[in-house]
Amino acid sequence: MEPIEIGLWVTSFLLVLVVVGMRVAFAAGLAGLVGLIWIFWAKFGYSPDKFGKALTVSVKIAGQVPHSKVSSQALSLIPTFILIGYLAYYAGLTRALFEAAKRWIAWLPGGLAVSTVFATAGFAAVSGASVATSAVFARIAIPEMLAIGYNKRFAAGVVAAAGTLASLIPPSAILVIYAIIVEQDVGKLLLAGFIPGAFSAVVYVLLIVGIALVFKNVGPPVKGFTWRQRFEALPGALPIVFVVVIIICFVYNPFGGDAWGTPTEGGALGAFVVFCMALWRGMRWGEFKSALLETAKLTVMIFTIIWGVLIYVRFLGFADLPGAFSDWITSLEMSPMVILVCILLAYAVLGMFMDAIGMLLLTLPVVYPAVMALNGGESVAAADSAFGMSGPMCAIWFGILVVKMAEFCLITPPIGLNCFVVAGVRDDLSVQDVFRGVMPFFIADGVTIALLVAFPSIVLYLPSLAQ
């Protein structure tokens, strides 16, 4: 059997394992190992006495992957970003942010909902994970919205949708994972997330204001804060600003002149600032220990998927499936833009059922080379490319699109993790309520994605400055 056929069989086997509920990391690792054994045994002509040799070689190849792949400086950003998020809870940053946002902007129509979006966007600048962000704001923002007569479905929808901002606005664990898989500059990708993240937030805000203007009972404005009260709310939120400035300045210095260091250093220093803040707010060993354990759990979970999937990817390398898929995609008689839109739609469907990180890790090794080939290759110049951008820029643009798709999937039924989390926090809300409430935001996300596809400069403006 040809390696490519083996590749397709093993990929189907993997999908079956995932669907029947095997843990994704191990399903991918097992599929990869089985695939390697198959490929090597086929290479040895399936002779029975050579099976042992095929097994040994494959096990040793697979056994290299975990250590080899996790020993990476770029990957060290993931645990750092997760730690920042957990420490931020202890530092009381979430409530401080919401309070500040409320006092400053809740006078708008749909005011508290708008404040929630802004506070979430602010928190996204220290948190790398969407689900955790929704969980926190469900606790803080929903009660206040209900207290002044918000529609409860709408309130829940706002929180579920706003949580997705955490993965576009840096720091973002998922953008780092994308950068690692496709071997692109992490710093530029993080930078590229800023404007689309802020842009998504603005689209959400416009939608909320529009809804509040049409349906008067949806969200009354909150007025009457004095300027004194407004300024008093600011100091609590300042560390966020500080962390954001540090991270930006370590990636690219907007004040002119040199950046201050590397992105890795920026992430770690951001964590340090939040850590000091948490200490100052009274964090003790017990809480610190829980923060470390929670960080360890989430990190290990992500890393296990990473190396598990990379065993499968190593097998794909031996089967040369990415090359074959890329040849197939580029041979299609359709315009590259139509193919790209089809790929994004496929992600929307897949994302209804799959977890974001698992989805990216499983698909990107095959899809990414195809998209790059579609644009004209890794080192194509903007003038000769299909999408009007150079190879490295295309990698960044596609990364932001894919991450936005993955975030969209966090709020789509039947498996929309953010919605489950919000419903889980509130006894008076069912998952169906949250899914109903979040529906308007599908439109907002659809609009955002369409605009990011149509106007790539929204994504590429900042990274191109950092050239």
Partner: protein, 217 residues
């Protein structure tokens, strides 16, 4: 899709073993958390050293690469104990009773097969980098300051071996549940429906948040 589930406990042998192993797993996970913290400290030392004394941490990248396996592997059994590794539970979540335990049993057995293979493979990876006859026992060193890599490589088979122990316990736990037809077996993570599970996660987070806020009035 993912997340934690409840593990029940009682006085039976399997449950006592479960809790003993849990202690070890927790220590490993805490080491992993401390290693994350050390990443942060290393960056602070390196940046501060560079900017104040023109003395960045020598071999900063090498040290990070050494710390990463600590972070990535040590907690793996701890997460498996609570059923925390991500999976898709649409199908398995619809099953009840013996059918459910059968699926779970097959699934853990397959993971056990994989992990036994990986203990072998990662041990072989380690042993290629280790040589009693060489200085510092090192047959593989880092690019910048030449740190021996074998200690970091050794972490993989060690952490995977602990995971194998955990998987053996779960094979026993699910097997027992299937044979005896139990509803709520001990020592294995029980599926919660997605909403219950999200509630548990959110509870945990908000608990933290309230404490921190409450502490400040």
């Amino acid at each position: 899709m993912a997340g934690n589930a409840a593990v029940l406990e009682d006085g039976s042998l399997i449950s006592r073993l479960d809790r003993k192993l849990l202690k070890l797993e927790q220590v490993f996970a805490l080491i992993s958390g401390l290693a994350v913290f050390s990443l942060m400290l290393m960056a602070v030392v390196s940046v501060a050293g560079r900017n104040t004394m023109n003395a960045p941490l020598p071999g900063y990248v090498d040290w990070i690469e050494q710390a990463m396996p600590l972070i990535a592997f040590m907690g793996i059994a701890y997460v498996q104990r609570d059923g925390g590794h991500i999976r898709m539970d649409i199908v398995i979540g619809a099953l009840r009773g013996r059918a459910l335990w059968l699926f779970e049993l097959i699934s853990v057995l397959l993971i056990l097969v994989l992990m036994l293979a990986l203990v072998w493979g990662s041990w072989s990876h380690f042993s290629r980098s280790f040589d009693f006859a060489a200085p510092l026992w090192s047959r593989d060193s880092s690019i910048d300051i030449g740190l021996p890599i074998w200690p970091a490589k050794l972490l993989a088979p060690v952490a995977f071996a602990v995971l194998c122990l955990r998987l053996l316990l779960q094979v026993w736990g699910y097997g027992r549940a299937m044979v005896l037809g139990l509803d709520t077996p001990v020592a294995v993570p029980l599926i919660q429906d997605a909403a219950e599970q999200a509630a548990a996660e959110a509870e945990q987070l908000s608990g933290h948040d309230n404490d921190a806020i409450g502490g400040q009035g």
